[in-house]
Symmetry: C2
Subunit: 444 residues, 2 copies
């Protein structure tokens, strides 16, 4: 048996209206928050590029900075990301205008019920004939709590305990029906075979769910599960349950160590290390020439207003108000936040290792939320991606679109052919389901 | 000013795999539970017929009869309706393959969070450019409780209190953004106008929700709201909040009195009586000739097995096991059920007024769940519908499809032209939103 060359897994990631806080102000930027035609164009573009999937971030809230800072209209109105089409609903629409593309949406385990989530992803999976994926998160930030009856965000450790049980229920509900259980036998009048129905009867700390799910078996066994937690509990959950993990890594040695750790953890949970794909985020601006890419990047950075980007750090400081400190001075010591632990650790490490000021950190996080930033030519980008793949620092990348559509257009037009030429990316989709295209095994 | 002739409002209603318990066994019946192509065909057929909307029933559970009666495989496997695509997810798909058709899905207020529901319907409304509708229900039956942490169904009165507050929150969230509040002004960097953002800050008995909703204003003011409650609290809620009410009426005098009562109740809540459309359910089999229609009906009835249809009554008896009584004898006295009050009252009234046996009642409810049943020619059906309209017994009908596709196909091909000829149904859609097509006013 010959080993196929290693192949990149690629996701077009999108946070409406773009990953870069000022991206929406680029001259060519489309609104891509409420306009279905923009999302259709994005999905069809990603599919033309043979990408594995389109992947939507989500939050079930408008950020408190936008809601509360009415004393500072510039802060308030500069914060984009206030409206969007709910991404799981959106997937069902995009399934109708694509044939091969995987469709992944974020949904929180903290402010949802597992029966609803199992049902909705299973439904998108049926509509798309096996192309759905769930990015399982624990609600990083407190904003969502206020929309679901709580005064405070659930404690970090408890969120992960809930997430683990939430997943157990969802996965159990997805096993409700054997693939051949729905008979619809007109002659005998038998609609289903009771032997193929599995009633969950789950009773745990957080949930009590009888089941079965009222959706038939998934065309791909079950929807793909992604997880992006970078804290200890986050990594452990990902290693145990995730088909792919969305991680933030900026250097090859650390990324390689992280990937090996995740594979080792998966092994520890009795899984094949190849059953988990490690995909770092990659914020990118790519253009035909280096100077053109640089110009776009400079233009973006020139539109960053410190007073607007500073709030992007506020949710990672554990309550410390950074505006009380000199902007060009160092990050003060921070207490452990109840928000995203992993992201806070990254902020602190970055400040220390690279000796960055508060202003520099704020601008970095507003650009890429801690992820790697690439600015350059298609050849350089393909080279870099291939190197990460060959160095075993990544199984692929989450392509963070700073705005839509030019970055993704350029990637599909210029970088994809370069990757194909190098033999590290597909020329045609291999299968009909997302699981098949990712080369992942069926769940037992 | 001349008064336009009265026009019928028509919805194609669907409970997968059909309203009649044996409908799925008809030779031409398609599965229409998990197959997206069947739903696409249904939506496009309804739109060809210029129908106002497609309207999906829902339940977030497999019925307990199917789950628990493993001792009786015939009862268990004869109960269809075990799997389906979740209807609100489905609407987002159907929005992509239709242009004018209204898209309405049922979602319960008993086992949901208002922020999620407001967001999802607003998202379908954005995707469809103003064609979404919500059928607000209170979970008639206990089955759903078991999937959401409860051992028993919430008490009837409490369900309606919760529903009223749930709606208040959803409606408030739908007012979060003025239509012109999202500026996306690239030059100034202002993404939104704080003056056009309305933060709900709701605190009530059941819910605490800060808001605002993270979805922009609806193209039709807000999604259309339907309500089907027939108990006292149900009627009052509908009269207060619903754009249309789905009712069960089988005779013109009672239907006229009911419609007048609903209009009067609406007036009592300070609304125009024309702002609520009263639409009785209509189970129908229509064919070119009377004998053909009769033959289809006879074939359907021949496939009814008493042991299978009896459980359809079980949820309306308040715990009394009807199998203990002679099937051809009368209905025994029943205690008040915690399920659908209105439906139980209808059952009892029907038994008394028409002197029906338990077997006859079971067969009637398994056919049409208490709704009017029409079997006949296109001309007779159009005549009947026109009479109900002119007699002010209805503003239109919920067309209950006993199976798919022949009944709806025949309706569109044979009955719609007949109604158009009589001047009581549109030849072209009047507007672009569901609200416009229904001739309903914008909400304040």
């Amino acid at each position: 048996m010959t080993t196929a060359p290693r192949q990149l897994r690629l996701a077009a990631f999108f946070t409406p209206p773009g990953s870069h806080y000022a991206g929406w102000r680029m001259p060519d930027a489309r609104s891509a928050d409420m306009e279905i035609d923009d999302y259709v164009a994005m999905a069809q573009l990603a599919e033309r590029g043979k990408l594995d999937m389109l992947f939507f971030q989500d939050s079930a809230a408008v950020a408190s900075a936008a809601v509360n800072r009415t004393d500072d209209p510039e802060v308030q109105t500069g914060a984009a990301r206030v409206v969007r089409i709910e991404p799981l609903t959106l997937l069902a629409s995009l399934a109708m205008v694509t044939k091969h593309l995987g469709l992944v949406a974020t949904a929180t385990t903290t402010y949802n019920e597992p029966y609803h989530i199992a049902r909705r992803f299973a439904s998108v999976d049926a509509i798309s004939r096996g192309r759905a994926g769930w990015n399982l998160v624990t609600s990083q930030f407190e904003d969502e709590a206020f929309n679901f009856g709580a005064d405070h965000h659930m404690e970090h450790g408890l969120r992960y305990e809930r997430a683990a049980e939430f997943f157990e229920v969802v996965a159990g509900l997805w096993r409700s029906w054997d693939p051949d259980a729905i008979l619809r036998d007109k002659d005998s009048g038998r609609y289903f075979d009771p032997a193929g129905m599995h009633v969950l009867r789950h009773e745990g700390r957080f949930f009590k769910v009888r089941g079965p799910l009222n959706v038939a078996a998934s065309p791909q066994g079950r929807p793909i599960v992604a997880q992006a937690g970078t804290s200890g509990p986050g990594r452990d959950l990902a290693a145990r349950i995730a088909d792919l993990t969305f991680t933030a890594q900026t250097e090859i040695p650390a990324a390689r160590a992280h990937r090996e750790e995740m594979r080792e953890r998966a092994r520890g949970h009795g899984r094949s290390p190849d059953a988990i794909k490690v995909m770092p985020g990659l914020n990118f601006i790519v253009a035909e020439t280096e100077s053109e890419a640089r110009a776009q990047h400079e233009h973006l950075m020139s539109m960053m207003v410190d007073r607007i980007v500073l709030p992007t750090l506020a949710r990672l400081t554990g309550g410390v108000d950074l505006t009380q400190y000199p902007l060009d001075g160092p990050l003060p010591p921070l207490p452990q936040s109840n928000s995203a632990h992993g992201r806070q650790d990254m902020l602190v490490a970055m400040a220390r290792e690279k000796n960055l000021s508060i202003r520099q950190l704020a601008r970095h996080f507003a650009t890429a939320n801690g992820h790697q930033v690439f600015v350059g030519t298609p050849k350089a980008m393909a080279e870099m991606m291939e190197t990460w793949l060959m160095e075993r620092a990544a199984d692929g990348f989450m392509l963070l679109q700073p705005w839509f559509p030019t970055p993704l257009e350029n990637f599909v037009k210029l970088v994809v052919p370069e990757l194909q030429k190098r033999g590290v990316f597909r020329r045609e989709y291999e299968g009909t389901t997302l699981r098949e295209n990712l080369g992942l095994p069926m769940p037992e």
